[in-house]
Symmetry: C2
Subunit: 212 residues, 2 copies
């Protein structure tokens, strides 16, 4: 947009300028390029502010449109910040996109619908599985489990910070939920405690925000 001095040519210099010794207390919001922020400090500030903004937007969308929204965020340090009823949404999501089930019977997702007694294999009680199918059943369950945890070891961080906004057990609850400061407050629950020193590369904080 405009950049340099638009010059004051179009304005009459009639009255003296504002006596403010503050020609412009700040530069205001500057345009930035959407690319990785290198400066640790600035990045953290941005992460914090924008995460807050993102969650707020999600909350508004949820209320305005009665939608269920869940957000999972891993900071680069491996810390988790979540919004919404993530657990319920995950379960629902897993059902609608059953990627975890491919390991059953050859891994062809086409078999997914196979039923016995009107139930999908994963819906049947373990005890109801016939002896002769047990081995295969176990293998399937194992695969299910494996798929759940297979990539677990790929990430290192272990610090968990839960930031939960509204929890909509019931869809309608989302509508009731109001965006009060209370609701948007960060609940930094240290998880399983332990050494609190995060051993951050540069003594940058980001951890001393325990409140509430």
């Amino acid at each position: 947009m405009e950049d340099g001095e638009p010059s004051s040519t179009t304005c009459l210099p009639l009255t003296e300028q504002k006596p403010q010794q503050n020609p412009k207390s700040t530069k205001g919001r500057q345009k930035i390029e959407i690319k990785q922020i290198d400066e640790e400090c600035r990045r953290q500030v941005t992460f914090s502010k924008r995460r807050t903004g993102l969650f707020k937007k999600a909350a508004e969308l949820s209320v305005l449109c009665g939608a269920q929204i869940g957000i999972i965020t891993f900071s680069r340090r491996g810390r988790i910040y979540t919004f919404g009823n993530v657990d319920a949404l995950i379960e629902n999501y897993l059902r609608k996109t059953p990627v975890m089930l491919r390991s059953h019977r050859g891994g062809d997702v086409a078999n997914e619908g196979e039923e016995v007694d009107g139930m999908k294999w994963w819906e049947r009680a373990v005890e109801s599985v016939p002896e002769e199918e047990m081995e295969e059943y176990m293998r399937a369950l194992s695969g299910l489990r494996e798929n759940l945890w297979i990539r677990i070891c790929q990430l290192g961080g272990d610090r968990t910070v839960q930031m939960n906004a509204p929890v909509f057990q019931d869809p309608m609850a989302a509508i009731e939920w109001k965006m009060t400061d209370e609701n948007l407050t960060v609940r930094n629950d240290q998880g399983q405690a332990g050494n609190d020193g995060y051993l951050d590369v540069a003594g940058v904080p980001f951890l001393s925000q325990s409140r509430r």
Copy 2:
């Protein structure tokens, strides 16, 4: 837009303000209350626009701060819209908040850390479980599975719309990702196709949502 001059108000009032030709082409963005939108049509438009905005914000945050972000959204019709590498994030999330494991050995999460051969019970191969523990193991797995699917039947809708933005297999990939139109384009894949008529129960949305 101009800024050089502190007060445009001091500009010469010589010419009459805007000629009346443009009374105001639009009212511009109006302030709205954050509460459930009743009008079906307006709600859908808002949902669409704000969802796009939300995902865009998420993408920016992801790139700017190198964070991994996943968003799951269920419209009130039960359609899913997701952003980010949801699968990977879910797995990671499940590890850090192993709520699914409470069913093991009395449901005390305190036992969660119990290890055998340096592996958590859920990490062990099914085949390695001693015969005498098999029954209990199966019960535990069953519980795990049950917890995964327990609430499955509570939702009715089956339409699945996947809207996937970037897929960050690797954390660093997020940084590379650019916010092109291509990336932000909605990929509306009907899932398993079928009747598209949702049969939404009159105005009362969320239809047969079974409540608890």
